[in-house]
Symmetry: none
Subunit: 235 residues, 2 copies
DNA sequence: TAGTGGTCTAGACCACGGT
DNA sequence: CCGTGGTCTAGACCACTAG
């Protein structure tokens, strides 16, 4: 049931409930979920609120609404085999590579009145005696969620391991926008790119936890030697 | 003024009007546009309709709504978040845009002893009288799977519609590799990119049907105004 | 305090799909 | 025909911003 006095708006509460049911398999892939009218009644709310919740799910690609028929679970989750989001270190370990991180900058910044811990790292792999950096990452982590994060040495610690084990925050979903961006000479040198090259692939977005709270704003510039592969299901 | 008997819903009409004013510079970058209440009055409609229109502009990144202050023009280069594979036409239709295709090349080629129908198209949207091309696509379709495909005019037909309806082939999965690639002046001109720009985002890969048979080799070059968005689940 | 956008209610009519 | 989602109306109260 929805709680009028909850911190979150009703439509967000409903959205979370429906989302959980889908992810838990209560509503299965391709199946019809209750109609807007049914949701209205069972959650004792109005259609506007129900539609706000459903429009969130629709924009996330989790359900599809069809006029005259109903709302169906889509769950076409774009899978990707790609670096970084959700486990650079783990990914490399599974490939029998040794991950290395170099902290380029580390400080507290304020954006729109919110304090963030800003972490800029070059990340790559070590082979024999040589290190090859593959990405330059900038992470913004809310101080409110991760107090004392500046105590860690992220040249040695994995950020995601700390988030999970020491703060109990589990990265669950990432919304990422890709673009081609000009890069500075400094970044080119770090990634061992030729100075004559002008632009690199950049991924920018947010990472969310299981409660759909934004836990990290992230921006990653990829070396041209990285292959960015994704698999998309379009059923 | 909005027309109740128009083909398009009121909020789409209002959305188009506001978008035009922004693109024409009537509302300038960073400026405040009329409040929801003012729009209600001047267009003789209700707040729900106004908010539907504004939420379209917001999701496109053309305006930003700030509680207590107002709605401001963002205009960070209008970005289209497009997932091209599996439904360029459908995607645009869902946004009430008109998709346009221009065939740049069309012939039969042989690769490794296999015959393919090669189709090169520029694809984009039409607004009023102007066409804006967003991608340049190259498709290689096996002649064995699609005999007689050269009869179609893909300046008018949707390739995926023909594949599904006329050949019963349903695109199900795509494996795509992203990279930053130098582009020719010809492509720059088509996508209305500055000549000084050197590289664009390119997606290259294969599309498979429900039986996991490769039905299309594809290569897409994206205009820099396209925002390539993905959602990744990392659970 | 006045104005803004954020949320919510309680209705209404419509176009569409399936019976 | 009925049920579905799509659109629209006409209000309401709230939290936030600014003068």
């Amino acid at each position: 049931m929805l709680d009028k006095h909850d911190f979150a708006p009703l439509y967000i509460q409903l959205y979370r409930i429906l989302r959980k049911r889908i992810l838990d398999g209560e509503y299965k892939q391709g199946e019809k979920i209750p109609s807007e009218t049914e949701l209205m009644k069972s959650f004792q709310t109005t259609r506007g609120t129900v539609r706000n919740a459903l429009s969130l799910l629709t924009s996330e690609g989790m359900v599809e609404q069809v006029r005259g028929k109903g709302t169906f679970v889509k769950l076409q989750q774009l899978k990707y085999s790609i670096w970084n989001f959700g486990g650079f270190t783990d990914y490399l370990k599974s490939r029998n590579e040794v991950a290395v991180s170099m902290v380029l900058d580390q400080k507290t910044v304020s954006v729109d009145g919110v304090d963030y811990f800003k972490l800029v790292r070059a990340r790559g792999i070590k082979k024999e005696r040589t290190v090859r950096y593959l990405t330059v990452d900038t992470s913004l982590l809310p101080v409110s969620l991760f107090p004392g994060l500046d105590r860690y040495d992220f040249g040695k610690e994995s950020l995601y391991r700390v988030m999970k084990q020491d703060y109990g925050v589990i990265p669950t979903r990432a919304e990422i926008s890709l673009s081609v961006e000009p890069v500075s000479d400094r970044v080119k040198d770090i990634l061992q790119e030729d100075r004559s090259l002008t632009a690199l692939l950049k991924a920018e977005g947010s990472v969310f936890d299981q409660n759909n709270a934004e836990i990290e704003k992230v921006s990653v510039t990829y070396s041209s030697s990285v292959e960015f592969k994704i698999t998309a299901n379009m059923a």
